[in-house]
């Protein structure tokens, strides 16, 4: 890809807006179509595009494999942790009313934002992990693998 100047420049220009758009979809999720899953996929696209154009090593320098794995687990913990927080506040599991007892609908906004953030983190991690798994695959199975 060294000679593809246009591709490299356009990619660098695009990555910022892609991440911004991901965050837009994320935070607009409780008003309009969107939310953590879509945002996570869009966020992962930024890294995957970078990997496709600049190579696997470059993207893994920015976003190493171990971090991807931790993020997958972290997102699940954020989601479940929100539920546990409401549980400790004396409400049912995942009852977002707990975060604003006098205005349950406000609490629901907060709760949904927290949960969707967890989804964003996990989905980004999973999507990038799938890309890494395919991209890092060795061309043929070596003899000792059998």
């Amino acid at each position: 890809m060294r000679h593809h100047l246009i591709l490299r420049v356009v990619t660098k220009l695009l990555i910022g807006p892609i991440i911004l758009f991901a965050l837009y979809v994320q935070f607009h999720g409780d008003f309009s179509p969107g939310g953590g899953f879509q945002a996570g996929v869009i966020m992962a696209v930024a890294f995957i595009l970078y990997g496709i154009v600049f190579g696997l090593e470059a993207v893994q320098h920015v976003f190493p494999s171990w971090l991807v794995h931790k993020l997958m687990a972290l997102g699940v913990l954020i989601f479940a942790g929100t539920g546990v927080a409401s549980l400790f506040l004396g409400y049912d599991f995942l009852d977002y009313g707990a975060f604003s007892p006098h205005h349950p609908s406000h609490g629901q906004h907060w709760g949904i934002l927290a949960v969707e953030f967890g989804v964003l983190v996990t989905v980004t991690g999973v999507m990038v992990a799938i890309y890494y798994a395919f991209a890092m695959r060795r061309p043929a199975i070596s003899d000792e693998e059998w």
Binding site: A73, L77, A80, V84, W146
Partner: protein
Amino acid sequence: MATEHVHVARTLMDHLPVLVVLVPFLAAPLTVLLGSQRLAWPIAFVSSLVSFLISIKLLMQVIDGGVISYHIGGWAPPLGIEYRIDAANAFVLLLVSAIGTIVMPYTVQSIKSEISERHHTLFYTMYLLCFTGLLGVVATGDAFNVFVFLEISSLSTYVLVAMGAKADKRALTAAYDYLIMGTIGATFFVIGIGFLYAGTGTLNMADIAAHISTNGADRTIETAFAFIVVGMGLKVAIYPLHLWLPNAYTYAPSAVTSFLAATATKVAIYVLLRFMFSVFQPDFLFEINALRWIMIPLALVAMFAASLIAVFQSDLKRMLAYSSIAQIGYILLGIGLLSATGLSGAIVHLFNHGITKAALFMGVGALVLRSGSSFYARIEGMGKVMPWTSFAIVIAGLSLIGVPGTAGFISKWVLVQAALEQGWWPIALAVVASSLLAIIYVWRVIEVLYMAQPADPTRREAPLSMLIPLWIMALSTIWFGLDTDMTMSAARAAADGLLNGFSIGGTSVGH
């Protein structure tokens, strides 16, 4: 929906139905996040132990016929997801969490030899996810939630089976076969749920049941029934749908096999029971025909054909896998008899066979640790060098046959009673006759273990961390064979609960 209402703070006790699933679920990502091989086991063990203690508490709360209903997110059913604990699922929760906890100390030595080092941390993550999924399937009262948890447990099971690849590469194809079959099963199940939703407009099981009992069943609901039975049949390994089971059990790591054999198929049977008796009414003619003309013949075929195949195996682990298919036949027979006695026989056999098979597969795992393989030729004469392991296998083997004084006898006795109650004495005879086949295959094991010279007399007994869980399971097969109060009363309460179906907003303990 933003109405203000006085909120009564919940206490920890009110949260037990969700905590039983939540504790291992939180532990699973935690093991990945910490990424520490040393911390993974303690986290997994403590969280399964907590689930086990919660299950005991839950069973004590509902054994008198009460129902606990827990509303996730504070949304009342049928709109919200409901966790619904009654005697039937509290009993299965107890089985799953007890086996999950007892297998834990056993895994340490077992996976050291059978799973490559870099997978150890992830093994516990997968184990916890599988455990969560199985508990979730049982605890929930929402039909779609069953599917979600079923997928969590199945996907992690495929990975766990594939981890046997260090010892034998065939684990990979076994896991792949299981993946394909399991996914077809799950797809059928979710199609069934879709039809149910189309037919009734709700996903809450109690609400579906209420809808069917007032409006009757139409073609959509009958189709849903067929899809759900076939889909779960694949997971249960009902006779012609069992092809994934022998390889998956044989090539999975021993610790995984002993956990799965005792829990995964049992949970699938629970789902089948829940749908057949609680969601669809048992007096629904279509279902009676399905049970009588499909389930009972298949159960009988399984009892004989799978036992016969087991007799001719030359690998102990594979033999036990085929015997599992036969034992599932007994459970299905109990269900097919369509009476309270038959159903409680099925439920008690589900429990008794679970502990028996867990003990046997643990014994096999200990033999594999010392001899490297479970082929009869490789474990000849192990009775002399590994007396404790071998004797535990013999005790559990007796329970598999159904010798009086062991757990296996109790459940077969109840099944025979149930068959005689309806005057179906040929079926009672069939139960006894297929037990004779079990004598043959268990005797072959005893012959191999005790009546040959040990190939290598320098082998040592298995480590204590494996022997103690093995003996806990072996002794509990005797304990539940002599003291049947707990198992039989729980099974009766479960059977009554299932046959009476749901009533929305019924008696509620909890809150």
